[in-house]
């Protein structure tokens, strides 16, 4: 992000939690997580200490691309003001050995398949539980169908 802008300004609302994602100089979002330099373990979201060896973890970029391992579309009343319906997935990240849970692009909810290549976007989606809008990361198709 640019020096003059906070993440709130870039994304239009405060992130749902700090340290989950950021944007590079070109404005492309990427995920942030933890890396343990002692045992080469990655975690998402970031954790201060490595769950395996308890060393301090470094806050690192995890990239913004991956492949859908499994997914679902939730059609019942959503929590946190999320769209109805909304889709979610477990995504295998390209740049770190991690399978993470994440939102999918609700504008094409129900249109995803296992094996789809996806990329991260960030938008104002839902609220914080108290009704205040929040920016959340979500994945959309990398290639058009």
């Amino acid at each position: 992000m640019t020096m003059a802008q906070t993440l709130d300004q870039v994304f239009g609302a405060p992130p749902i939690a700090s340290g989950l994602f950021d944007v590079d100089a070109s404005g492309a979002p990427f995920l942030m997580g933890g890396h343990c330099e002692q045992c080469d373990r990655y975690v998402f979201p970031y954790s201060e200490s490595c769950p395996a060896c308890l060393s301090g973890m470094k806050h690192v970029r995890l990239g913004g691309e991956g492949v859908i391992y499994s997914h679902t579309t939730v059609r019942t009343k959503p929590p946190y003001g999320l769209p109805q319906p909304y889709s979610v997935a477990f995504i295998d990240l390209n740049d770190a050995p991690l399978r993470i849970f994440a939102l999918l692009d609700h504008s094409m909810a129900g249109g995803f398949r296992i094996g789809d290549r996806v990329k991260l976007k960030v938008g104002v989606i839902g609220h914080d539980g108290e009704g205040d809008p929040r920016a959340r990361g979500y994945f959309t198709l990398k290639d058009s169908r």
Binding site: I16, T72, R75, T76, V88, F90, L103, G129
Partner: protein
């Protein structure tokens, strides 16, 4: 290590019970279990009470002393337990440990829950949890397991629906179950979609209800005669954070079942009847595989074959399970064990498993990083 026995068990009806409080539900179950055991409250050395939603829905905390106080158990140590869906079976686990450690002769376990209030939405992990704040909730993780199971093993929508059909067929024989009307595959699949591919009838209903068990030492069980049921194994484990969990070969489930079998000295072929945590249709399919009733990936074809249905060679969830009996969260783990007790005693009525000698109760609770938070497996025999 001393041996532990179950000498009393009782479960209330499950379903909306607006006139009942958590305490009155727990009291009803506990009094009936004591009466079933033929012991009075003065002989109770220790109590474990399980509840999950009291603090969230009613602001009620440390309810165990109120329940045990209401059945005349005063001064004895009472411990309150919350461990998600395994709260009740975790309480049971601690009761068994107390008996095995020779710290008590008679320990009462009570699980009681009241969930049927309008303010309860999708059950998730809470506001501090990344996944919950991004749309994870109870059906979501299981729906993704179902999608992956279809992808890897060719499991069909009809096979998922067969779990519910089988569940209702058993529940029709259980007067305490919440959903007792028989159904069929077409009807299950035609219902509203909750999270693809799980329709509403493939998701367990919330409920109010309670269940209680009296656990006893060998000495105290002697008076109970042939009705006493032996606890061959009670295992409680936790899940783990793995960077890329395999959600259809469930490590924690498989490991916990294997540990319980090893401890009990039995294998899947020895099991006459089982209760498992069928919170969703896919859950039961995964638990068949973890319990070793069929090979990995074969769970869908196993239920379709009728093997786990009434009259099948491996009856599973004869109570109707979570899908039909209902799921008052902290009562469930106790109710599953109580159901197995009935079959081992030959007291399960219309749903009795013929000549049941060995039974298993499997339970899981909570979501964390693609794994469960807790898992319990209990092996019982007569």
């Amino acid at each position: 290590m001393a041996a532990a026995y179950i000498i009393g068990a009782s479960t209330t009806a499950f379903g909306p019970q607006p006139e009942k409080s958590i305490v009155s539900l727990g009291r009803d179950a506990a009094l009936a279990a004591l009466s079933d055991a033929g012991v009075d409250s003065a002989s109770v050395n220790m109590g474990f009470f399980a509840n999950v939603f009291g603090p969230l829905l009613f602001g009620d905390t440390t309810i165990g002393q109120d329940v045990f106080g209401a059945i005349g158990v005063q001064r004895a140590p009472i411990i309150n337990i919350e461990n998600a869906c395994t709260s009740g079976s975790s309480a049971f686990h601690l009761a068994v440990q107390a008996i095995e450690a020779d710290a008590a002769d008679i320990v009462v376990v009570v699980g009681a829950e009241k969930m049927c209030v309008p303010t309860l939405g999708l059950v998730g992990g809470g506001q501090s949890d990344y996944a919950s704040r991004n749309g994870m909730a109870a059906p979501v993780g299981f729906a993704m397991r179902a999608a992956r199971h279809m992808h890897e093993f060719g499991t069909t929508l009809q096979q998922f629906a067969a779990v519910t059909v089988k569940s209702r067929a058993f529940a029709a024989k259980n007067p305490l179950a919440q959903f007792r009307k028989p159904t069929n595959v077409e009807e299950v699949l035609a219902g509203p979609m909750i999270a693809d591919p799980l329709t509403r009838a493939q998701c367990c209903p919330i409920a109010d209800g309670a269940s209680a068990i009296v656990v006893a030492s060998e000495k105290a069980a002697r008076a109970n005669g042939a009705r006493a049921v032996r606890v061959n194994a009670s295992v409680l484990t936790s899940g783990e954070s793995v960077s890329a969990p395999d959600i259809v070969r469930w490590g924690t489930d498989i490991r916990t079942c294997a540990l319980a079998y090893e401890k009990a000295g039995v294998g899947p072929d020895d099991v006459d009847v089982a209760e498992c945590h069928d919170a969703f249709s896919i859950s039961e399919i995964l638990h068949y595989e973890a319990l070793g009733f069929c090979a990995a990936g074969e769970g869908g074809r196993f239920v379709e074959s009728g093997a786990s249905a009434p009259g099948g060679r491996k009856p599973v969830n004869p109570s109707g399970g979570l899908l039909s009996r209902g799921h008052p969260v902290a009562a469930t783990g106790v109710a599953q064990i109580s159901e197995i007790v009935l079959h081992l005693r030959g007291e399960a009525g219309a749903r009795q498993t013929p000549d049941a000698k060995v039974g298993v109760a499997q339970c899981m609770g909570g979501d964390k990083d693609g794994d469960t938070k807790s898992c319990t497996v209990v092996v019982l025999s007569r």
